[in-house]
């Protein structure tokens, strides 16, 4: 996702090495994805579910069908 849009950056964090950070984000199960400190998604999910779900929670939807070139 970070490759697709320059506004997206992605940290992969080994939770047990940073207990303070894990406490702050209340990491109880992994994988846990946190976006902009507000959207949380626990557990692994296939891309077809993961990307639309995260985007929906961020209020990002496909506004219209892309116009034909």
């Amino acid at each position: 996702m970070a490759i697709e849009n320059a506004l997206v950056r992605a940290d992969m964090i080994e939770a047990t090495e940073y207990p303070e950070l894990s406490d702050r984000y209340a990491v109880y199960g992994v994988p846990l994805t946190v976006v902009n400190d507000k959207v949380r998604l626990e557990g692994g999910a296939p891309e077809a579910y993961f990307v639309p779900r995260i985007m929906h929670e961020l209020g990002i939807t496909l506004e219209a069908e892309p116009a034909e070139e």
Binding site: A2, R9, E14, V34, V35
Partner: protein
């Protein structure tokens, strides 16, 4: 003593053969107070030895503040996975960095290790491999998004 078994090295070498552009692994470490830095360093050294398209650059988190700032490094050990792109210049070819903002914090072992290898390939290709639908959604992103994915070694 090598962390990667000879059979793993062979499989990884084959996988890394699929790289197109070179990739720079920018490693942030510290001499003191970082228990997992030495093992991370060893893993990275063994990985970059498997491909001539991989290079390792190491910074000291406590000293090299300019680099810490430039790559936006929050903690150690940290690895930034950065694409190198050829740019023609007056004195021949020059590589410039294309930083997609991909970082690994902590030892890349277990499942995280395969994530790192996968990201090296994606960054090398400059292609996420995501579906057309995902790409269309991501094209709509107009504000900075900071993903943090927590994992544990397995």
């Amino acid at each position: 003593m090598a962390l990667l078994k000879p059979s793993d090295q062979a499989a990884l070498r084959e996988e890394l053969n699929k790289m197109t552009n070179p990739v720079r692994l920018v490693f942030f470490t510290q001499m003191l107070g970082c228990e997992t830095c030495p093992i991370t360093k060893q893993i990275l050294e063994e990985v970059v030895a498997l491909s001539d398209k991989l290079e390792l650059v190491t910074y000291n988190h406590a000293i090299d503040r300019e680099a810490v700032e430039r790559y936006g490094i929050a903690r150690i050990p940290a690895i930034a996975v950065v694409r190198l792109e050829v740019q023609a210049s007056d004195d021949g070819q020059q590589f410039t960095e294309h930083d997609y903002g991909i970082r690994f914090y902590g030892v890349p072992s277990g499942y995280e290790f395969m994530s790192l290898i996968g990201d090296i390939l994606d960054v090398s290709h400059g292609e996420s491999g995501l579906s057309a639908e995902s790409k269309a959604l991501l094209a709509q992103v107009s504000q900075p998004l900071h993903f943090q994915v927590f994992t544990t070694p397995t």
